[in-house]
């Protein structure tokens, strides 16, 4: 079955510390994976798409097919990074979502 797992509901780190948000997936075939972010009182927006291999707002994510993971990383967290982060997998033109991780950056 196709599934996305984000094991942490909440992650709290200090400003300036590294951040890693975990995402694991289950998919038969070549996956296409995304990270979406939702800031307080704002709509969901695309942060990263693995095929583009871009770095957005200092975040990167590498697809590891051996570990079936797509963890989101940032070397130095900033307070404005506080938000809900969702990992999603594209399958038959629909997105399959993880439950999300709430990231809190402490000053």
């Amino acid at each position: 079955a196709q599934r996305v797992t984000q094991p942490e509901k909440l992650l709290s780190v200090f400003k300036g510390a590294p951040v890693e948000l975990k995402c694991n997936y289950s998919y038969s075939g070549s996956p296409e994976l995304f990270w979406y972010v939702q800031y307080s009182r704002q709509r969901l927006q695309l942060l990263l798409r693995h095929i583009s291999r871009e770095s957005i707002k200092g975040f990167t994510a590498d697809l590891n097919k051996g570990e079936t993971s797509f963890h989101l990383k940032k070397p130095f967290a900033q307070e404005e990074d506080s938000a809900m982060y969702y990992c999603a997998l594209l399958s038959n033109y629909q997105l399959i979502w993880g439950a999300g991780t709430k990231l809190i950056i402490k000053p």
Binding site: V4, Q6, K9, Q42, R43, L44, Q45, L46, R49, Y86, A88, L90, N92, Y93, Q94, L95, I96, W97, G98, A99, G100
Partner: protein
């Protein structure tokens, strides 16, 4: 603003009533998606349209749910005989074509009492 617009932003209805949720996609976007997000969970796929036709409605939970997009632009999600379990945030997204970036609306929070 040219983003995806959903109305109403909040809807409270009584159990058993009928509701309609509206989505105005970004102009020119041919693909439109509906998702539902329950508290503490990620969004769940409901249905998507390519143009006017429902290309995949496999996520609709039962026959009380129906969605239309008659002119290939605005879409309406219709829920008959609402139940308390239908309470959730209903999200709409649109994209230029399938497999291009999807842009989300702010959602409609439906509460069935």
């Amino acid at each position: 603003g040219a983003g995806v617009s959903q109305t109403p932003s909040n809807k409270v209805t009584e159990k058993g009533k009928y509701v309609e949720l509206r989505c105005d996609p970004i102009s020119g976007h041919t693909a439109l998606y509906w998702y539902r997000q329950s508290l503490g969970q990620g969004p769940e796929f409901l249905i998507y349209f390519q143009g006017t036709g429902a290309a995949d409605d496999s996520g609709l939970p039962n026959d009380r749910f129906f969605a239309v997009r008659p002119e290939g632009s605005v879409s309406t999600l219709k829920i008959q005989r609402t139940e308390r379990g239908d309470s959730a945030v209903y999200l709409c997204a649109s994209s230029m074509t399938l497999n291009t970036e999807a842009f989300f609306g702010q959602g409609t929070r439906l509460t069935v009492v």
